[in-house]
Subunit: 430 residues, 3 copies
C-alpha cells in the first residue's frame, strides 16, 4: 500500500482536471473493474454547480533580485488551488495578501484553495516568507479555468444480496499522504480483498473529489442508495500510526455505528469517540445531511483538523507508514466481516438442546463451571431469540462477533441454530 | 414591580371576600383587559364546594389587666383566616388552643387558616405569648361567614395560533410578600410585556385563590385547556434573591419542563431541581393531578416550605426586592421566547448548501476550524431534519435557543431553512 | 421446615427412581392436593429423551487388603449417579478414572452424575483417596437401568383469576440440604400459606427433577403456561443464612423481576444482583429459553456454583438452618403479596380530593409539611393515573408496596381510588 501511495503522491490532484484523471487511471490498474465517470462543468448539483476544470502548467514567484522564491515545479502546494492565471509585477506589500504561510509551523507549506471565488496565491514556509525583502516581485501562474468535467470512479462488487455497503474515499488533494492518499490506498486494498471473499452483500466503492464529488454522486444515485445501503464508511486519514478515532453518524445509531463501536471496542478499546457536532469535516457531512441520511460513519487514525501536519507539506510519506495502513486495512476487514455475517439468529429447539450426545458438553456432571468456549455456545443458544441480530447478541454476551462464527457453523450444521437475512431479497427497504 | 407589591401588601386577602376583590381591582388598573369572575358559594367543584365568603371588620385579644394583646388592625396575620365570630371571656388555659405561635421563630406572627372547619384563633410572636399571665382574657372577633362568591380574574392575550400558554398565580394570602405577592406582580408585568410583543401563541393569565380557585377554574375550562394548552407555569415565590428552584410536572417530560431546564441550564446552571413527589405544594398539585394532566411546572426562587420566613409575618417587603423580581421576570420572558419560536426546523436543500456564494462562509479554504457563530449555523443546518423542534435542536447542539433566532432568520430569508408550527391551527390536539 | 428437610435428607433421589417417589410421597402428606405424575422412559421431550429408571441396591469398593474403602450404605454420594452395574477387580491405576474427589475440599465427598452416558464410579474424600495403596481393588455396584418413568408432582391452588404464578423447585439431588432440599421445603410451606390466604391469582407449584423434568413439564403444558403465567420463581438454595442473590430472567424486565427487585430493595437492600449470562445454572435456563420465554426468576441465598459446600457432602443439615429457611419463606410471601395486589390504580376524582372533611387531613393549615403516612396517601392519589400498576407506583414514590395496602383500602372505601385487574378474566394473554 505504501508503494501505491508513493506512485500517487506527486500527482497534482484538485477538484477536477488531469491530476484526478491520472490518479483514477492508476487505481484502475489496481482494480480493472473500476468505472470512471465524468460530469460536465456547469451541471447543477443540489445547491451547487460543478465548477470549471483547473489546468496548471507552471507557476513561479520571482524576487526583486531575480531569484525564484517558489516554483510550482518544486511542490504542488506552492500554488493556491484553482488559482486564476496571473502574470504581473507588484511590490511586497501588494503581494502579501496573495501569500500564505503558517507561523505556527514555520517550515511547512500550507495547503490553500479557492475553488468557488476567483483568486490566486502562493504558499510557502513562514521562515522563508520572513526573509522576503521589499521590492518588486514577479508573480506568474500559467493556469486555465475552462469548461471540462468533474471525474470520479466507482467499483461495484456484487454479492448474493441487493443490500449494499458503501465505501467512500476522496481523490482531490495534491501531494499529501495521510489526508488523503491513505484513504484511496486502503479502500483499494479493501476492495481487492472483498473480491477474493465469498460474499453475501454487495460492495460499492467510490473515489470522488470531496464535497462537490459526494454531492454529485448523491444527486445521481440517492434513491438507489437510500433503498440499498445498509452501512458504510468514509475512509480518510488512515495511514499514520496514531490511535483510532470514531466519528459517529449524525445520530450515532446506525448499523455502521454499531459495527464500528463493536470492532473498535474489541480490538482498540482505547479508541477516541469524536462528536459529529464538533468534529465532522469530510464527506460524512454530506452523507449524513438531513434528507440524505445515509448510514456513513468515519473511522480514522489521527483525524483531520487535529494532527499538526494536517493540510500542509508535512503530511507526507514519512507520516504515513505501511504499518499504519495495514492496521487500518485489518480494522476495515473486521467491519466488513461483521456486516457480512450479521443475520438474525434463532435457536431451533425449545429449551436447552442436549449437547452431551453431540459431543458439545461433558457427559460427566461435576457441578463446576464450563469453559469459556462452551459458555459462548450456551449464551449464543440462550439469547438467539429470532429478534436479535448476531451483532447485538455478541455485544450482549460480550464477545467479538467473529469469535462466534465457527460456533454458529457448528450449531447450524447440528440443526440447533438458524442464521437468516430477511432483508436480503427485499429491493425496497434499507 | 416592588411598588405594585407595596400597594397590594396591606389588603386582607383570603380565599374569598373584599380583600380579593380589592386586589383584583388594582391588578385591573395595570391590565385593563383583565376580566373578573365570580362563582357563588356552595357551587360544587370536583370533590369540593365553594366556601362561604369571609368578612372581618375587627378583632382583638385583651389581657386580664385590660391591655390589648393583639389587634387585627395592627397586622392581618393576627387572626386565624376564616375565624368565626367570637365574643367571649376565657382563662389562659382555655385560650391556649386558640393561640398560634412559632417557638422556632419567636418574633414572627405565623399564618394560620381554617377554611373548611369552623374555628377561631389569634396568631402572635412566641416571645409575646410567653409573657401572658394567668387570668381572664377577652377574645373578640367581629367576622361573618355568609353566602357570597369566590372571585378570580383572567386575561387572555390572543396570538395567531389557537395554542395557549397558561400562566397561573394566586391572590389569597394576606400581607405576605414572597409567597404570594411576588407571583401576581411578576405575572402582571409578564402580561404587560407579552401584550407588547408580536405573538404566535395565545397567552392565558389567571389570578386565582390557591387550590379551590384552581379547581374551580379547571372545572369551568378543563376540556378547552386540555385541547389548547401546550405549556405553562405556576408563578409563586419569585421575589427574593435566592437561587432558582425548578419543580417539574408530575412526570417531568412536558414542553414546560423542557423549556424550564433549557433556560435555567443556560442562565442559572446552579439551579436546584426539586422533586414533584416530595416538594410540590402549590397549584401545580391540581394542574398535574391524574385526569387533569396539564403541563404546568413551577419555577421559584426560595421555594415554599423551605425558606425560614415562609408563611409568617417575616415574609415581607424587605425579603422581596426589585432585583429579585426583575431577575424572575427576565427568566419568564426567556421561557416565553423559547415557547414562541419552538417550531419544527427543516433544512430545505439536500446536502450542505454552498454558503460561500451567500457570504456565509469564507471562500478561501485553509483547513482550519470555523468560528463559533458559523459552527452554530452549520450545526443548525445539519440537525434540522424536519422531525426536531428548535428546542431539541438547541439542546442537541448545546447553545441557547435564543442565540439561534437571528441565524434562523438569515437562513429562512436565504431559502435554506423552514421553521413551521404544524399544530398551530389544529383545534383539537395539545 | 428443618424437620421436613431432615426427613427427606437420607433418600437417594436421582432423576428417576424410588428416591424421587418416596420424596414426593412425603410431600404429598404435607400437601394432600399434590398430584404425582409419571412420564415413561423413552418419551421424546423437545431435544431430549426421558432416560431409563435408575435403581441401586448396594455398592462397595474394597481395598486389596479386604477393607471397605467406601460403601453406598454409608452415604448416597459415594456412588456416581446413574452408575451402571459393575462387579470387577482392577488395579489402582485402572481404578483411578472411576474415582472422584476434590483436592480443594479434602474432607468432602463430591456429587457426580453421568445421566446420559453409561459410566460408573465412586466418590470419596480426597484425603482418603491419597491413602489408597497399589494393588487389586474390587468394585461392586448392584444397580439397574431399566425402562420405568420420570416422576414429578404439581399442586394447583385456584384463585378467582385465571392468571397464574408458577413456583418451580426440584427433587433430584440425593442427600444435599441447601441445593436442593431447601427448595422443596420452602415451596411446600409457601403452598401451605397460600392455601390459607384469600386469593386473586392461581398458584401452580411444581416439584420436578432438574432440567429433564422442567423440559418434560414445559412440553406438556407450554401453551397453557405461556397464556396464563404472569410471574414465577425457581426456588433453590434458600436454606442457609447467606445474603440473598437475585438472578434475573433473560432480559430482566418481567413482572417477576420487578417484584423481586422491589421486595429485595426494601427488605434486603444489600442483595446481590447476578447476571443471567454468567450465573444461570438451574431450571431458569429452561424457563427462559428462546421460545419458552416464561417470566421465571431465581432468588437464592448462597447461590449454586458459588458456595464452597455446593455439590458435596458438606452441603448438609448444619449448613441449612430453620432461621435461613424462615427468612426465605418470608421473602417469598412478600413476592406473592406484591403479585396478588398489583392492580392498576386510578384516582377517582379530578384534582386533589378534599381530605379534611373525611378526617384524612388536618383542618388547620399551618403551612408545614405533613407526616410520612399522609405523604404516602397524597402521593398515591397524585400518581394513580390509571396507567400505572401499584408496583410501579410504589417504586415511583419509594415505599414498600405492602405499606400502601391499608391506605388503598381506606381510599377505595371512600370512593377516591380504584384498583382493578383488567387481565384477570382474559384467558388468552399473559
Amino acid at each position: 500500500m505504501h508503494d501505491l501511495a508513493t506512485r500517487l503522491f506527486p500527482l497534482n490532484r484538485s477538484l477536477t482536471g488531469p491530476g484526478v484523471r491520472a490518479t483514477l487511471a492508476i487505481l484502475q490498474q489496481e482494480m480493472p473493474g473500476l468505472v470512471i465517470e465524468a460530469i460536465p462543468s456547469g451541471t447543477p448539483c443540489f445547491d451547487w454547480i460543478v465548477p470549471r476544470e483547473w489546468h496548471i502548467r507552471s507557476a513561479r514567484l520571482t524576487a526583486p533580485g531575480g531569484e525564484v522564491v517558489v516554483d510550482f515545479a518544486h511542490h504542488n502546494l506552492h500554488v493556491v488551488g484553482y488559482s486564476i492565471p496571473v502574470n504581473t509585477t507588484l511590490d511586497l506589500e501588494a503581494l502579501q495578501p496573495h501569500l500564505h504561510s503558517r507561523p505556527d509551523l514555520p517550515d511547512a507549506i500550507p495547503y490553500i484553495t479557492s475553488y468557488y471565488a476567483e483568486n490566486w496565491g502562493f504558499c510557502l514556509p513562514h521562515r522563508q516568507r520572513q526573509t522576503l525583502l521589499p521590492g518588486l516581485y514577479h508573480a506568474f501562474i500559467d493556469s486555465q479555468l475552462e469548461p471540462g468535467c468533474l471525474n470520479y470512479a466507482e467499483l461495484v462488487i456484487p454479492g448474493r444480496s441487493t443490500r449494499e455497503v458503501l465505501i467512500s474515499t476522496y481523490i482531490c488533494h495534491p501531494s499529501m499522504a495521510n489526508n488523503e492518499l491513505s484513504g484511496p490506498v486502503v479502500a483499494t486494498y479493501l476492495a481487492k480483498w472483498v473480491m477474493q471473499q465469498p460474499r453475501r452483500l454487495t460492495y460499492r466503492f467510490v473515489f470522488i473529489p470531496e464535497t462537490i464529488g459526494s454531492l454529485c454522486y448523491l444527486q445521481r444515485h440517492l434513491p438507489h442508495l437510500k433503498n440499498r445501503v445498509v452501512a458504510g464508511f468514509n475512509i480518510t486519514c488512515v495511514g499514520d500510526e496514531g490511535e483510532f478515532n470514531y466519528l459517529p453518524t449524525r445520530h450515532g445509531q446506525t448499523l455502521s455505528d454499531r459495527v464500528a463501536r463493536h470492532v473498535l471496542g474489541q480490538v482498540a478499546p482505547g479508541y477516541h469517540r469524536k462528536d459529529f457536532r464538533w468534529h465532522r469535516g469530510s464527506d460524512e457531512r454530506q452523507y449524513n445531511a438531513p434528507g440524505i441520511d445515509l448510514p456513513i460513519a468515519t473511522i480514522t487514525r489521527s483525524i483531520f483538523h487535529e494532527y499538526a501536519e494536517y493540510h500542509t507539506s508535512l503530511d507526507d510519506l514519512t507520516l504515513v507508514t505501511q504499518n499504519g495502513l495495514s492496521g487500518s486495512l485489518e480494522l476495515y476487514r473486521l467491519f466488513l466481516t461483521c456486516l457480512e455475517h450479521n443475520g438474525m439468529v434463532q435457536t431451533m429447539v425449545l429449551g436447552e438442546p442436549q449437547l452431551g450426545r453431540r459431543g458439545l458438553y461433558p457427559n460427566l456432571s461435576r457441578g463446576g463451571k464450563v469453559g469459556e468456549e462452551l459458555d459462548m455456545l450456551l449464551n449464543l443458544l440462550a439469547y438467539a431469540d429470532g429478534k436479535t441480530d448476531l451483532l447485538a447478541l455478541a455485544e450482549q454476551i460480550e464477545v467479538p462477533l467473529w469469535s462466534l462464527l465457527p460456533i454458529c457453523d457448528t450449531l447450524i450444521r447440528q440443526g440447533l441454530l438458524a442464521l437468516s437475512f430477511p432483508d436480503d431479497d427485499n429491493p425496497a427497504t434499507a
